[in-house]
Chain length 110, copies 2
Amino acid sequence: MSKRKKSSTTNAIDILHRRYYEGRPERLAALEEARANDSVARKIAALRVQAGLSQRQLAKLVGTTASVICRLENADYEGHSLAMLNRIAAALNQRVEIRFVQTDRRLQPA
Amino acid sequence: MSKRKKSSTTNAIDILHRRYYEGRPERLAALEEARANDSVARKIAALRVQAGLSQRQLAKLVGTTASVICRLENADYEGHSLAMLNRIAAALNQRVEIRFVQTDRRLQPA
DNA sequence: ACAGCCGTTCGCAATAATGCGAACATGTGC
DNA sequence: GCACATGTTCGCATTATTGCGAACGGCTGT
């Protein structure tokens, strides 16, 4: 595990990444979790809008209320369950697919 | 849910599908949910074995106990949460990726 | 102004997942 | 037999998510 800095990076994100996350599994996990939550929230919202539904309409299809949908579409929400994702997916004629992908290599800029 | 259903009839699955699932969103959802749960359970187990870890070892990495891991690896378990999946993924140097894919047409055995 | 729909936030009860230890059955090697 | 490790199931306390109504601000059209 060499620590030599090989590339003279001018990218601030890389620097910040090295400083705050590299070698800190907990922080990396928290980062990934936040990213995942945001991603899921956005996907739900996108799917709903794409289907031309309001939160209340989707809520009715899913069998819940608008406040619940709103909560799910919030990027900061951390309570996503597969059960709920499946219910939403089923209501929108979709299915949820879950994959585990390696994160060994460096992450690329979004 | 039955795992082995290899009949000689080529359209038995189609017939059963039409009879029990078509036009019944609730049953379709339940079917998909069972399939998804089984899939997730298997993926967790596969990842753990692939990493050469026992349930207790993974539990320690994740920050829980072996009984919890065992529960997660059970195909009938319905309580999968993104939080737990992320914890497991992080412990195994992976990240969870979620996708919604359309299931408009007839579903096909993988 | 009014009615209507939109997304959003709050609070709280009810439900469900997690956390944890204990115990069991199985298999392996000493 | 014994010790050890594995996967498994059970019960129960703790924690978190869901369910639901109510209310708010914003926006549109009448």
